[in-house]
Symmetry: C2
Subunit: 427 residues, 2 copies
């Protein structure tokens, strides 16, 4: 049963105390990374045999395997994937940034170039968490950014094949090469490169605790997207909402993972009770009932606030990954939202819309990091480089100032280099 | 003496092998963080007494201390700081991004809001590495982004005061509150908050190994800018360059730190030899000769390539923090630069221009991370939030597709939440 808190009796910060968790897999992962770094493909094949029960001659997916995938996946699903791709593309293309140049002062040109990352690695989990939507959400912004090569890794099934839905989504999204390797060994291969798997500049995509720890360990050598925590939804709903819909939306997060958290914040005690009842009714018919029930019982919360404004303040304190604002005039509150990954406005906007289809990314900041982090976007696949050009005349006008500044910082060689071209000329 | 490598005899990747270093301060820093988290201000005061020899009643810098600073710093320097501020402001204002909204389809509104971080912490080192330029470079982009409050921490001198130049720069740059605390204890205070020091959303600024390790340990709870490695310059110069200037620019990096690296890549053996000689001549007159000499001897390199094009390729492999392209037509090569933090174009553009004055940021990706990282910018002080609005009609048109997609991923509660509003209506 979900827990109900009334802010008349308990402070929001008390309700929200988060626990930190340690996965305890650091040493195992460090060992796998060292092994892959040293032994390359042969280590990858051994781990794949051990963990995925697949005995592979070649790690790379072939063109004919991809063609086969399109035969195996039904046409309706292919069409839906293509529609989703179009929506995701049309949203993310607005994130593209241009380089700029400033040439306003005599003999000075300044600018910033925006350049795509050259090679990106996309990790796609296998097994029950095999999500073609992740392939689209990670790959499409990278393509828009202009990344030259997108390399995907995903663990094979025991017969050495990959789920054809994943292969089809990868082809539609524009992945370049696909390798049959999963877990921390895949992350190691992408970070260091092996005979088969090319070294990348950035690794993106979700994964289990081993994958997350491996990403943490290779961060710095390559970039990573984020270390994602369990999925979260916070729904703000007023007394006019249908409790059946609110409960259905809460459960769509709860079914992800026993650690997922689903929180309702409402100004209506009636809605609080009605949603609590609906959760119990709907839980019984869910195929993933056990996962969802554990999530709701352990991490689910209904928080009663005195107003919808206070509910938005509470949401800002939690900084949820997903935020639904289920009221009749949701745009009234948009300016008040300070910390949230993705916001779903109004009563007809279940978060599932955003998981697959609407366009905005589903890779979002978790665990309160929406205070300072952003949804995955085209920005994550570019880097910026500044450039500066001065003529000798332009340099002459400022070199003494720069030398003065440098001497104040105790850096004489900086001062020297500022004036070596100009002071000599004047003397 | 600097080492000279000729790519006729040795491959670039062989020349470039980087070593990884471990600082071994992890446990000390973890202890300090735990102590500050538990004991707040009293822990901060104890560490400040122990490490900085300053016995403080109050940690916060007062208004009259800041006024005093302006009396102590000479007017010429105040003017130069203000000019630098203007240049930095004028460059970074071009980085501001707008929110966007898309309302192209019936009953659908999508968008992305760009929001400033609410509170940012700026770490400023004390002692010999007391750099007012860092205050400007970190603070100005945050102000442009719209950050509500910028909190600065810096270690006091033994008499409990702060270098007035730092205070003046902080005031000019727009810092809100300043605290007299340094080291890993300052990072802990900014990440967790104490009675005096408010908890921030992001910590930026340079620091020693303890500060860097503390930033690494609190990353995730708060955001950080980067873990900066030693400073680097790579100069591409052809045979027409004046070796005196090239050597002066190399030394401006070498004087930073014994671990700093200064690399010349040239197609001219004559220039290589002449620069090597000039380094020895100029080293002798540097106040920081010992540091610069160690840097040049241990990490300095001159690499001879067969052409300037090959030199640019070598620079792309190294992905240097600072890149000078000292040739007559430097813009000819700008499109070929793929990996560099900040590029200085032409023969009149010493990197020191960028350290203080020209406008682009001096906080730059080190250790080859320019492959995937960017200079500090306004982007580092904002976050993005996506939003989605659908009318019931708009939802009705896509809900069955979404449910189909969700079922393919084995997520029935997602499917339910997609159709709960629309399927009932149709039935």
């Amino acid at each position: 049963m979900i827990k109900i808190f009334d802010t008349e009796n308990i402070s929001v910060s008390e309700i929200l105390k988060r626990e930190q968790t340690s996965t305890g897999v650091e040493d195992i992962v460090a060992g796998v990374i060292a092994d892959v770094r040293k032994n390359g493909d042969s280590a990858l094949k051994e781990y794949t045999k051990k963990f995925d029960k697949a005995d592979l001659d070649s790690l790379e997916v072939t063109g004919s395997e991809i063609e086969d995938a399109f035969v195996q996946v039904d046409d309706k699903f292919i069409d839906i994937i293509k529609k989703a791709k179009e929506n995701i593309y049309n949203f993310h293309k607005h994130q593209v940034r241009n380089s700029f140049v400033i040439s306003e002062n005599d003999g000075i040109v300044l600018g910033q170039k925006v350049l795509p990352l050259q090679r990106v690695g996309l990790y796609v989990p296998g097994g029950t968490a095999s999500y073609p939507s992740s392939v689209l959400m990670n790959c499409i912004p990278a393509k828009i950014a202009g990344v030259e090569e997108i390399v995907m890794t995903t663990p094979p099934r025991a017969d050495g094949t990959i789920n054809p839905v994943i292969l089809a989504a990868a082809k539609i999204a524009g992945v370049g090469r696909i390798f049959k390797v999963g877990g921390s060994q895949a992350i190691a291969a992408l970070a260091y490169g092996t005979e088969s798997v090319p070294k990348v500049d950035k690794i993106v995509g979700p994964g289990n605790a081993f994958v997350a720890e491996a990403k943490r360990q290779v961060y710095g050598l390559v970039d990573i997207d984020m270390i994602a925590g369990p999925s979260e939804i916070l729904i703000i709903a007023d007394g006019t909402c249908n409790p059946e819909y609110v409960a259905a939306d809460l459960l769509s997060q709860a079914e992800h993972d026993k650690l997922a958290s689903a929180v309702l914040v409402t100004d209506s005690k009636e809605l609080a009770n009605a949603v609590s009842e609906q959760l119990e009714i709907q839980l019984r018919v869910l195929p993933r009932e056990e996962i969802a029930r554990t999530s709701i019982d352990n991490n689910g919360k209904i928080i009663i606030t005195e107003s919808i404004e206070k509910a938005v303040e509470t949401a800002n304190m939690i900084a949820p990954e997903h935020l639904e604002i289920c009221v009749d005039n949701p745009f009234d509150y948009l300016d008040k939202v300070k910390n949230a990954g993705s916001v779903f406005l109004g009563k007809n906007c279940p978060e599932a819309l955003g998981d697959y289809f609407a366009g905005p990314n589903h890779t979002l900041p978790t665990s309160g990091t929406a205070r300072f982090s952003s949804p995955l976007s085209v920005d994550d696949f570019v880097k910026k480089t500044a450039f500066t050009y001065y003529t000798l005349d332009a340099l002459s006008k400022v070199s003494e100032d720069i030398a003065y500044f440098a001497e104040k910082e105790g850096l004489s060689a900086h001062a020297r280099s500022a004036v070596v071209r100009t002071r000599k000329k004047n003397s």
